[in-house]
């Protein structure tokens, strides 16, 4: 059975193809269109998936969209009505936005792919999140918690997933919290208040939180109150996101927290305003964590299950995930590599396969490498055409040379195999560097990523020695598999891991199993032979404002216009002339 899953129209659209119960491929539209967070209908992603699997659209058994468009429209219209007459400005924009394309999904899919309407199915948004979290996790019976900004109406759901011995699968969502009461929207509102772009700047808020003290918790708690049944509600007097698309927070919010940050002003932590913003970030981060921990703890008590599957955009908050693991009572927390909306494409397809069609459960590959693969010889061709000297060598030599580069403090662009599905670079499209000094962190921020100083970089470490360098609780390695948890760096290693240790002594590490990315794993060991530490700085292979590179040519152009010293793709290694010591330069010339 061939099932295509699609997510689109809000942010980060994607397509995924499931054949006979297994995910064959999945890719975000932004990686192919090269438009960051591309929300357009993912035609390129769909075309790539079908072409990759040699599937004609007519032979698809179903195409599953990740939410119910009319139910979403119902929410948009109802919110406009509830806010009457304050919503008079937002109403035309909301209607044009919805009626232009978003409610005609069945027709759009049908016309693009030529599949009949009855083959087009719709999951609920949070069903897709739940399926992406549970059906891709190596567990038989788990509690499920999904939380994001908003789907149709739901903003947070809890439930259970179970695989039976006869191969049947069941996912039941028990309860939900509805819009406008939303943890994701609370966090996004602070993201906007702090001058970061919503749906993209939430990472920045999390990074900034490390520099602040949660001195404004009481103020944040005025915005979000706990209800008697253990859920929460927002005090809507402080928000505007439910009445207008123009602003997330109201004047009362500004009265409470002070003037918002202008997005063009840098955050200077030496100033009182800079510290206020950091404290704001720390406070909302703490409240988010506390709320999630309480909800998860109640879910654990109600289900008695040891495993929790976490889905939705909020599951990208690694600090909160680590606290859930430590304090909610669950022994293991599973977060898929793409817990956000892009991952819903895969979740929707898996949900249709297991639940709607009742197909037997199959073990889903436990890795994120479902995207386009590279042509091993492409870098050699490009470099040759442009007159650059390059090395073409076998794996062992390449890894040894790259380890030498890293040990010589060169920054390496690393392209290997199939592209990751999800927002994290987990070893196939990474920028790698020595993790030891703050100077390296500053150099990458300054010359490559062009981003704020307060944002940390992540380390990658072999799973077997991860707890030698990091304080991992039981279950921590699993959470670190896809960089989903933030853990403390052991104090004795912090001075040797300065580039990847955040100001609060933590790191969002990736604990790498050899089977997942063997070449990167071998590189870690080769680097250990030179430095004594098998840890590298691993950040996504892109520059500010760009999506992660997919093809070699994109890595090549990124390499040429940034401070990356070495580019490795397939069997080819290309070194920038200025990165070479003088002697080598002469030899190359």
């Amino acid at each position: 059975m061939k099932i295509l899953g699609i997510s689109a129209h809000y942010h980060d659209s994607a397509a995924a193809l499931v054949i006979d119960g297994l995910p064959v491929c999945a890719v975000q539209e932004e990686r192919l269109s090269r438009r960051k967070n591309d929300a357009a209908f993912p035609l390129q992603a769909i075309e790539w998936c079908l072409e990759h699997a040699c599937v004609e659209p007519e032979s698809l058994d179903a195409v599953v969209f990740y939410e119910r468009p009319m139910l979403k429209f119902d929410r948009v219209l109802t919110c406009a009505l509830r806010a009457f007459p304050r919503s008079w400005r937002a109403f035309p924009a909301a209607m044009k936005n919805s009626l232009g394309e978003k409610v005609w999904v069945r027709g759009i899919i049908s016309s693009h792919l030529g599949v009949p309407g009855q083959k087009i199915l719709f999951t609920e948004h949070h069903q897709a999140h739940a399926a992406a979290a549970f059906l891709a996790a190596p567990t038989h019976h788990a509690a499920i918690l999904t939380t994001d900004g908003v789907g149709e109406w739901a903003t947070l759901t809890n439930g259970e997933g179970k695989r039976f011995e006869n191969g049947k699968t069941n996912i039941t969502l028990h309860r939900e919290v509805r819009f406008p009461h939303s943890l994701g929207m609370l966090y996004s509102t602070f993201t906007a208040y702090l001058g970061f772009p919503v749906n993209e700047g939430e990472y920045k808020l999390m990074g900034l939180a490390g520099y602040g003290r949660p001195t404004m918790i009481d103020k944040v708690r005025k915005l979000i109150q706990r209800t008697d049944d253990g859920a929460f509600q927002l005090d809507l007097n402080y928000f505007d996101f439910h009445t207008t698309a123009k602003s997330s927070y109201s004047s009362r919010f500004v009265e409470l927290f002070g003037p918002p940050r202008n997005s063009y002003d840098p955050i200077d932590l030496e100033t009182s305003d800079g510290q206020r913003f950091a404290d704001c970030a720390a406070s909302v981060q703490r409240v988010l964590e506390d709320t999630l921990v309480d909800i998860a703890r109640a879910l654990h008590q109600a289900t008695g299950l040891p495993d929790l599957c976490l889905g939705g955009g909020v599951a990208l908050n690694g600090v909160a995930n680590a606290r859930l693991l430590a304090e909610s009572g669950f022994e293991r927390v599973f977060v898929p590599p793409a817990p956000g909306d892009a991952g819903c494409a895969l979740g929707a397809a898996l949900y249709a396969d297991r639940i709607h069609f009742g197909n037997p459960d199959r073990e889903v590959p436990d890795h994120p490498f479902l995207g386009p693969s590279i042509d091993d010889k492409e870098l050699a061709r490009l470099a040759g055409e442009d007159g650059h000297a390059f090395d073409d060598c076998d794996d062992n030599a390449l890894i040894e040379q790259t380890a030498d580069d890293l040990a010589a403090d060169r920054i390496v662009g690393w392209i290997d195999g199939a592209l990751e599905f999800g927002p994290r670079a987990l070893g196939h499209r990474s920028i790698l560097a020595a993790p030891h000094s703050a100077a390296m962190r500053d150099r990458i921020n300054r010359e490559i990523k062009y981003r704020e100083e307060f944002r940390p970089f992540a380390p990658v470490v072999p799973i077997e020695v991860a707890d030698h360098y990091f304080e991992l609780p039981p279950g921590g390695k699993r959470l670190a598999r896809f960089m989903s948890g933030v853990f403390r760096v052991r104090p004795e290693w912090r001075s040797r891991l300065e580039a990847v240790t955040h100001v609060d002594g933590t790191a969002r590490l990736q604990a790498l199993e050899r089977a997942m990315a063997p070449r990167l794993y071998d590189l870690l060991l080769a680097y250990e032979r030179r430095s004594g530490i098998p840890v590298l700085l691993n950040t996504s292979f892109n520059l500010a404002g760009d999506p992660i590179v997919a093809r070699v040519v994109e890595g090549y152009s990124t390499f040429l216009r940034s401070g990356i010293d070495v580019l490795v793709a397939g069997s080819t290694r290309l070194v920038k002339r200025e990165a070479l010591p003088t002697k080598t330069k002469e030899a190359v010339a």
Binding site: L81, W88, F91, P92, H174, T227, D228, A231, D265, V553
Partner: protein, 239 residues
């Protein structure tokens, strides 16, 4: 001829900031598109030239952004200026609605040549009306210098890859710009009409439904809402 109008537009300090910041964004967007062209072209020489061009655009974007930010800090009050002078403005120097993947190098070079030419003539006017603001004037001066190179390489390369028909491509690109200009105006007009129509509907048709919706909202209890088992069922419905 339009210099007095431009002088009036740029005179307002806040509007100046907004325009510079918007230029910064437009140049960066243009850089993205040209970078994409560099990644798509099979021609190695074009790839190198596009890449240099893209890097220039990114640099211009950064220069505009920095200058805009510097001026922003000098503003005493930060109210919105009365007239932004941009609602019908074309993507201008950026490649706005150009879909790089669907264009051949010939079409792209012709389009780029005209865009650069148009931008150069506009930036010349801006430079001239901003003589009193030396740092901003210097930015336009520096960018104009790059634009000359961009105009020249796009034309040279177009003549190289299409020696017989390069003039035709330029004319086609001119017509395409005209058509896009018309579409932009038509879309803007349609948008205004649509908005007016929807606002009328909002105030005429919606009030009774709004009353019902508000009444229903008051009855809603905060907190958890149970999900009925049938919600976990059929995938055939959109509602």
């Amino acid at each position: 001829m339009l210099a007095p109008i431009h002088r009036w537009v740029w005179r307002d300090q806040e509007r100046r900031v907004q325009k510079l910041l918007r230029f910064g964004q437009t140049e960066t967007d243009g850089g993205h598109d040209i970078l994409r062209a560099a990644e798509m072209t099979p021609d190695p020489l074009l790839r190198r030239l596009y890449l240099k061009h893209a890097i220039d655009e990114y640099r211009h974007g950064e220069m505009f952004r920095r200058r805009g930010t510097d001026l922003l800090h000098t503003l005493s009050s930060r109210s919105e200026p009365a007239f932004q002078a941009n609602w019908l403005a074309p993507g201008g120097h950026g490649l706005d609605d150009l879909n790089v993947e669907d264009e051949s190098d010939k079409e792209l070079l012709a389009f780029l040549h005209l865009s650069e030419k148009a931008a150069a003539s506009r930036f010349t006017v801006y430079r001239d009306v901003l003589r009193s603001d030396e740092p901003t004037c210097a930015i336009f001066e520096e960018i104009l210098h790059d634009e000359v190179f961009h105009m020249s390489y796009t034309l040279t390369q177009l003549a190289r890859i299409s020696p017989q028909h390069h003039r035709q491509h330029i004319w086609r690109a001119r017509l395409s710009r005209l058509w896009k200009g018309y579409l932009r105006i038509a879309t803007a007009l349609a948008g205004v009409m649509g908005t007016l129509f929807l606002i009328l509907q909002y105030f005429i048709l919606l009030p009774p439904f709004a009353l019902l919706a508000k009444r229903a909202a008051r009855r809603e209890q905060p907190g958890w809402i149970p999900i009925s088992p049938d919600r976990n069922g059929s995938l055939n419905r959109q509602y």
